[in-house]
Symmetry: C2
Subunit: 168 residues, 2 copies
Protein backbone atom coordinates (compact mmCIF):
# COMPACT_ATOMS: atom_id res chain seq x y z
CA UNK A 1 0.00 0.00 0.00
CA UNK A 2 0.96 3.67 -0.06
CA UNK A 3 2.64 5.48 2.83
CA UNK A 4 -0.54 7.44 3.35
CA UNK A 5 -2.67 4.32 3.43
CA UNK A 6 -0.17 2.64 5.76
CA UNK A 7 -0.62 5.47 8.21
CA UNK A 8 -4.39 5.12 8.21
CA UNK A 9 -4.33 1.34 8.50
CA UNK A 10 -1.84 1.46 11.39
CA UNK A 11 -4.11 3.86 13.25
CA UNK A 12 -7.20 1.77 12.66
CA UNK A 13 -5.79 -1.68 13.37
CA UNK A 14 -2.92 -1.52 15.85
CA UNK A 15 -3.48 2.05 17.02
CA UNK A 16 -4.05 0.85 20.58
CA UNK A 17 -0.48 -0.26 20.99
CA UNK A 18 1.51 1.15 18.08
CA UNK A 19 1.76 4.35 16.07
CA UNK A 20 3.83 5.78 13.26
CA UNK A 21 3.95 9.31 11.90
CA UNK A 22 4.53 10.36 8.27
CA UNK A 23 7.94 11.60 9.32
CA UNK A 24 8.82 8.00 10.13
CA UNK A 25 6.88 6.20 7.41
CA UNK A 26 8.17 7.88 4.25
CA UNK A 27 11.89 7.80 5.06
CA UNK A 28 11.57 4.23 6.34
CA UNK A 29 9.86 3.05 3.15
CA UNK A 30 12.76 4.48 1.16
CA UNK A 31 15.26 2.70 3.38
CA UNK A 32 13.38 -0.57 3.08
CA UNK A 33 13.36 -0.17 -0.68
CA UNK A 34 17.12 0.51 -0.70
CA UNK A 35 17.61 -2.71 1.27
CA UNK A 36 15.43 -4.61 -1.18
CA UNK A 37 12.79 -5.50 1.42
CA UNK A 38 9.97 -3.70 -0.37
CA UNK A 39 9.37 -2.72 -3.98
CA UNK A 40 7.49 0.33 -5.23
CA UNK A 41 5.17 0.62 -8.20
CA UNK A 42 3.06 3.44 -9.67
CA UNK A 43 -0.14 4.18 -7.78
CA UNK A 44 -3.48 5.32 -9.21
CA UNK A 45 -2.60 9.00 -8.79
CA UNK A 46 0.23 11.00 -10.27
CA UNK A 47 3.27 10.68 -8.01
CA UNK A 48 1.74 8.15 -5.66
CA UNK A 49 3.53 4.90 -4.94
CA UNK A 50 2.29 1.51 -3.90
CA UNK A 51 4.70 -0.60 -1.91
CA UNK A 52 4.76 -4.39 -1.63
CA UNK A 53 6.94 -6.77 0.37
CA UNK A 54 9.57 -8.51 -1.72
CA UNK A 55 10.31 -12.17 -1.11
CA UNK A 56 13.36 -11.12 0.91
CA UNK A 57 11.19 -8.66 2.81
CA UNK A 58 8.67 -11.34 3.69
CA UNK A 59 11.49 -13.61 4.85
CA UNK A 60 12.93 -10.90 7.08
CA UNK A 61 9.48 -10.16 8.43
CA UNK A 62 8.99 -13.77 9.49
CA UNK A 63 12.47 -13.77 10.97
CA UNK A 64 11.58 -10.67 12.98
CA UNK A 65 8.41 -12.36 14.25
CA UNK A 66 10.63 -14.96 15.94
CA UNK A 67 12.97 -12.50 17.65
CA UNK A 68 12.08 -12.00 21.34
CA UNK A 69 9.98 -8.86 21.79
CA UNK A 70 11.80 -6.14 23.71
CA UNK A 71 9.82 -4.43 26.44
CA UNK A 72 9.64 -0.68 26.03
CA UNK A 73 10.77 1.76 28.66
CA UNK A 74 7.75 2.81 30.66
CA UNK A 75 7.21 6.35 31.87
CA UNK A 76 4.00 6.71 33.82
CA UNK A 77 3.29 10.30 34.77
CA UNK A 78 0.25 9.41 36.90
CA UNK A 79 2.35 7.11 39.09
CA UNK A 80 5.09 9.71 39.30
CA UNK A 81 2.61 12.23 40.65
CA UNK A 82 0.92 9.69 42.90
CA UNK A 83 4.31 8.76 44.37
CA UNK A 84 4.52 12.31 45.71
CA UNK A 85 0.87 12.25 46.82
CA UNK A 86 1.64 13.33 50.37
CA UNK A 87 2.84 16.70 49.01
CA UNK A 88 -0.58 17.48 47.53
CA UNK A 89 -4.05 17.63 49.03
CA UNK A 90 -6.12 14.51 48.69
CA UNK A 91 -8.60 16.14 46.31
CA UNK A 92 -5.87 16.83 43.80
CA UNK A 93 -4.66 13.24 44.00
CA UNK A 94 -8.20 11.91 43.66
CA UNK A 95 -8.69 14.04 40.57
CA UNK A 96 -5.64 12.48 38.96
CA UNK A 97 -6.75 8.93 39.72
CA UNK A 98 -10.31 9.66 38.62
CA UNK A 99 -9.05 11.05 35.33
CA UNK A 100 -7.08 7.85 34.79
CA UNK A 101 -10.19 5.81 35.59
CA UNK A 102 -12.12 7.74 32.93
CA UNK A 103 -9.33 7.05 30.49
CA UNK A 104 -9.52 3.30 31.13
CA UNK A 105 -13.33 3.35 30.80
CA UNK A 106 -12.97 5.12 27.47
CA UNK A 107 -10.39 2.51 26.42
CA UNK A 108 -12.84 -0.29 27.23
CA UNK A 109 -15.57 1.33 25.16
CA UNK A 110 -13.09 1.81 22.34
CA UNK A 111 -12.07 -1.87 22.46
CA UNK A 112 -15.70 -2.96 22.34
CA UNK A 113 -16.15 -0.86 19.20
CA UNK A 114 -13.04 -2.28 17.57
CA UNK A 115 -14.09 -5.83 18.33
CA UNK A 116 -17.55 -5.31 16.86
CA UNK A 117 -16.23 -3.66 13.71
CA UNK A 118 -13.56 -6.32 13.31
CA UNK A 119 -16.05 -9.17 13.54
CA UNK A 120 -18.49 -7.42 11.19
CA UNK A 121 -15.94 -6.51 8.53
CA UNK A 122 -13.46 -9.39 8.58
CA UNK A 123 -15.37 -12.44 9.79
CA UNK A 124 -13.45 -15.61 9.00
CA UNK A 125 -10.12 -13.90 8.41
CA UNK A 126 -7.21 -16.13 9.56
CA UNK A 127 -5.68 -13.19 11.41
CA UNK A 128 -8.84 -12.62 13.45
CA UNK A 129 -8.02 -14.81 16.48
CA UNK A 130 -4.71 -12.96 16.89
CA UNK A 131 -6.29 -9.55 16.41
CA UNK A 132 -8.78 -10.36 19.15
CA UNK A 133 -5.97 -11.48 21.45
CA UNK A 134 -4.41 -8.02 21.21
CA UNK A 135 -7.79 -6.45 21.99
CA UNK A 136 -8.17 -8.80 24.97
CA UNK A 137 -4.80 -7.64 26.28
CA UNK A 138 -6.08 -4.10 26.40
CA UNK A 139 -9.34 -5.20 28.00
CA UNK A 140 -7.63 -7.24 30.70
CA UNK A 141 -5.32 -4.35 31.49
CA UNK A 142 -8.09 -1.76 31.59
CA UNK A 143 -10.37 -3.86 33.79
CA UNK A 144 -7.58 -4.55 36.28
CA UNK A 145 -6.52 -0.92 36.44
CA UNK A 146 -10.09 0.33 36.87
CA UNK A 147 -10.19 -1.95 39.91
CA UNK A 148 -6.93 -0.43 41.10
CA UNK A 149 -8.33 3.09 40.63
CA UNK A 150 -11.36 2.27 42.78
CA UNK A 151 -9.28 0.70 45.51
CA UNK A 152 -6.81 3.58 45.41
CA UNK A 153 -9.53 6.25 45.58
CA UNK A 154 -10.95 4.52 48.63
CA UNK A 155 -7.53 4.49 50.28
CA UNK A 156 -6.89 8.17 49.56
CA UNK A 157 -10.22 9.11 51.10
CA UNK A 158 -9.43 7.03 54.17
CA UNK A 159 -6.06 8.77 54.45
CA UNK A 160 -7.72 12.18 54.22
CA UNK A 161 -10.25 11.25 56.90
CA UNK A 162 -7.80 9.84 59.45
CA UNK A 163 -4.36 11.18 58.62
CA UNK A 164 -2.95 10.07 61.98
CA UNK A 165 -3.70 6.44 61.33
CA UNK A 166 -2.43 6.58 57.77
CA UNK A 167 1.21 6.29 58.69
CA UNK A 168 0.85 3.10 60.71
Amino acid sequence: MSGYELHRVIDESIGNFWSESFGQIYPTLKQLQAKGLVSASEGARLGSKVYSLTELGRFRFREWLGLPAQPQVVRNELLLKLFFGNHADSETVCQQVTQERHRFEADLAHYAGIEARLKADYGGHPGMPYWLMTVNYGKAEAVALIGWCDETLKQIKTLAAKPAEAVR
Copy 2:
Protein backbone atom coordinates in the same frame (compact mmCIF):
# COMPACT_ATOMS: atom_id res chain seq x y z
CA MET B 1 21.00 15.63 46.64
CA SER B 2 23.70 15.25 43.98
CA GLY B 3 22.97 14.32 40.38
CA TYR B 4 24.62 10.99 40.97
CA GLU B 5 22.53 10.31 44.06
CA LEU B 6 19.40 11.41 42.23
CA HIS B 7 20.06 8.79 39.59
CA ARG B 8 20.42 6.04 42.18
CA VAL B 9 17.36 7.10 44.16
CA ILE B 10 15.22 7.31 41.01
CA ASP B 11 16.24 3.77 40.09
CA GLU B 12 15.53 2.42 43.54
CA SER B 13 12.25 4.16 44.26
CA ILE B 14 10.34 4.87 41.06
CA GLY B 15 12.41 2.65 38.76
CA ASN B 16 9.31 0.57 37.97
CA PHE B 17 7.66 3.39 36.12
CA TRP B 18 10.25 6.11 35.58
CA SER B 19 13.90 6.45 34.64
CA GLU B 20 16.41 9.20 33.96
CA SER B 21 19.93 8.96 32.57
CA PHE B 22 22.92 11.12 33.51
CA GLY B 23 22.64 12.72 30.10
CA GLN B 24 19.27 14.06 31.20
CA ILE B 25 19.94 14.70 34.86
CA TYR B 26 23.01 16.95 34.75
CA PRO B 27 21.83 19.34 32.01
CA THR B 28 18.38 19.51 33.61
CA LEU B 29 19.79 20.38 37.03
CA LYS B 30 21.67 23.27 35.42
CA GLN B 31 18.52 24.47 33.69
CA LEU B 32 16.54 24.24 36.92
CA GLN B 33 19.23 26.24 38.66
CA ALA B 34 19.16 28.88 35.92
CA LYS B 35 15.39 29.14 36.41
CA GLY B 36 15.85 29.49 40.15
CA LEU B 37 13.96 26.30 40.97
CA VAL B 38 16.89 24.60 42.67
CA SER B 39 20.02 25.90 44.38
CA ALA B 40 23.42 24.20 44.48
CA SER B 41 25.89 24.04 47.34
CA GLU B 42 29.28 22.37 47.84
CA GLY B 43 29.12 18.63 48.44
CA ALA B 44 31.38 16.56 50.68
CA ARG B 45 33.75 15.78 47.80
CA LEU B 46 35.80 18.10 45.63
CA GLY B 47 33.68 19.29 42.73
CA SER B 48 30.50 17.60 43.88
CA LYS B 49 27.31 19.59 44.23
CA VAL B 50 24.29 19.12 46.39
CA TYR B 51 21.05 20.50 45.03
CA SER B 52 18.00 21.58 47.00
CA LEU B 53 14.61 22.86 45.93
CA THR B 54 14.19 26.60 46.38
CA GLU B 55 10.92 27.95 47.67
CA LEU B 56 9.93 28.79 44.08
CA GLY B 57 10.93 25.26 43.04
CA ARG B 58 8.76 23.72 45.71
CA PHE B 59 5.86 25.91 44.62
CA ARG B 60 6.26 24.87 40.99
CA PHE B 61 6.52 21.25 42.04
CA ARG B 62 3.18 21.42 43.87
CA GLU B 63 1.71 23.22 40.90
CA TRP B 64 2.91 20.41 38.63
CA LEU B 65 1.33 17.82 40.93
CA GLY B 66 -2.06 19.35 40.14
CA LEU B 67 -1.65 19.36 36.35
CA PRO B 68 -3.47 16.43 34.70
CA ALA B 69 -1.06 13.58 34.01
CA GLN B 70 -0.49 13.01 30.31
CA PRO B 71 -0.60 9.40 29.14
CA GLN B 72 2.53 8.32 27.31
CA VAL B 73 2.52 6.91 23.83
CA VAL B 74 2.52 3.14 24.10
CA ARG B 75 4.50 0.90 21.78
CA ASN B 76 4.07 -2.76 22.61
CA GLU B 77 6.31 -4.98 20.51
CA LEU B 78 4.77 -8.20 21.84
CA LEU B 79 1.30 -7.14 20.67
CA LEU B 80 2.70 -6.00 17.34
CA LYS B 81 4.16 -9.47 16.77
CA LEU B 82 1.09 -11.21 18.11
CA PHE B 83 -1.09 -9.20 15.73
CA PHE B 84 0.72 -10.95 12.87
CA GLY B 85 0.55 -14.32 14.64
CA ASN B 86 -1.01 -16.11 11.67
CA HIS B 87 2.22 -15.49 9.72
CA ALA B 88 4.30 -17.48 12.21
CA ASP B 89 4.01 -21.02 13.53
CA SER B 90 2.20 -21.40 16.82
CA GLU B 91 5.34 -22.43 18.71
CA THR B 92 7.01 -19.15 17.87
CA VAL B 93 3.97 -17.20 19.06
CA CYS B 94 3.75 -19.27 22.25
CA GLN B 95 7.39 -18.54 22.95
CA GLN B 96 6.73 -14.82 22.75
CA VAL B 97 3.75 -14.98 25.07
CA THR B 98 5.58 -17.28 27.49
CA GLN B 99 8.49 -14.88 27.60
CA GLU B 100 6.10 -12.08 28.47
CA ARG B 101 4.57 -14.22 31.19
CA HIS B 102 8.02 -14.78 32.70
CA ARG B 103 8.58 -11.06 32.60
CA PHE B 104 5.38 -10.39 34.54
CA GLU B 105 6.25 -13.09 37.09
CA ALA B 106 9.63 -11.47 37.58
CA ASP B 107 7.90 -8.09 37.99
CA LEU B 108 5.67 -9.53 40.72
CA ALA B 109 8.65 -10.93 42.61
CA HIS B 110 10.38 -7.59 42.22
CA TYR B 111 7.37 -5.71 43.62
CA ALA B 112 7.20 -8.05 46.61
CA GLY B 113 10.86 -7.26 47.32
CA ILE B 114 10.32 -3.53 47.02
CA GLU B 115 7.31 -3.63 49.31
CA ALA B 116 9.19 -5.59 51.98
CA ARG B 117 12.22 -3.31 51.84
CA LEU B 118 10.04 -0.21 51.88
CA LYS B 119 8.14 -1.33 54.98
CA ALA B 120 11.32 -2.39 56.74
CA ASP B 121 13.30 0.78 55.99
CA TYR B 122 10.68 3.53 56.02
CA GLY B 123 7.91 2.34 58.35
CA GLY B 124 5.70 5.26 59.35
CA HIS B 125 6.84 7.60 56.59
CA PRO B 126 3.98 9.84 55.41
CA GLY B 127 4.75 9.01 51.80
CA MET B 128 4.41 5.28 52.41
CA PRO B 129 0.70 4.87 51.54
CA TYR B 130 1.31 6.55 48.19
CA TRP B 131 4.45 4.55 47.49
CA LEU B 132 2.50 1.37 48.11
CA MET B 133 -0.25 2.53 45.76
CA THR B 134 2.28 2.74 42.92
CA VAL B 135 3.51 -0.74 43.76
CA ASN B 136 -0.08 -2.00 43.79
CA TYR B 137 -0.60 -0.56 40.32
CA GLY B 138 2.24 -2.74 39.04
CA LYS B 139 0.91 -5.76 40.91
CA ALA B 140 -2.63 -5.37 39.57
CA GLU B 141 -1.32 -4.98 36.04
CA ALA B 142 1.03 -7.96 36.27
CA VAL B 143 -1.59 -10.28 37.78
CA ALA B 144 -4.13 -9.37 35.10
CA LEU B 145 -1.66 -9.81 32.26
CA ILE B 146 -0.41 -13.15 33.59
CA GLY B 147 -4.04 -14.24 33.37
CA TRP B 148 -4.18 -12.94 29.81
CA CYS B 149 -0.99 -14.84 28.93
CA ASP B 150 -2.48 -18.11 30.21
CA GLU B 151 -5.74 -17.59 28.36
CA THR B 152 -3.88 -16.58 25.19
CA LEU B 153 -1.53 -19.57 25.31
CA LYS B 154 -4.55 -21.85 25.61
CA GLN B 155 -6.16 -20.19 22.58
CA ILE B 156 -3.03 -20.45 20.45
CA LYS B 157 -2.75 -24.16 21.23
CA THR B 158 -6.40 -24.65 20.30
CA LEU B 159 -5.79 -22.81 17.03
CA ALA B 160 -2.81 -25.03 16.26
CA ALA B 161 -4.81 -28.17 16.96
CA LYS B 162 -7.91 -27.30 14.91
CA PRO B 163 -6.97 -24.56 12.45
CA ALA B 164 -10.19 -24.99 10.46
CA GLU B 165 -12.37 -24.12 13.42
CA ALA B 166 -10.19 -21.24 14.44
CA VAL B 167 -11.64 -18.77 12.01
CA ARG B 168 -15.25 -19.20 13.08
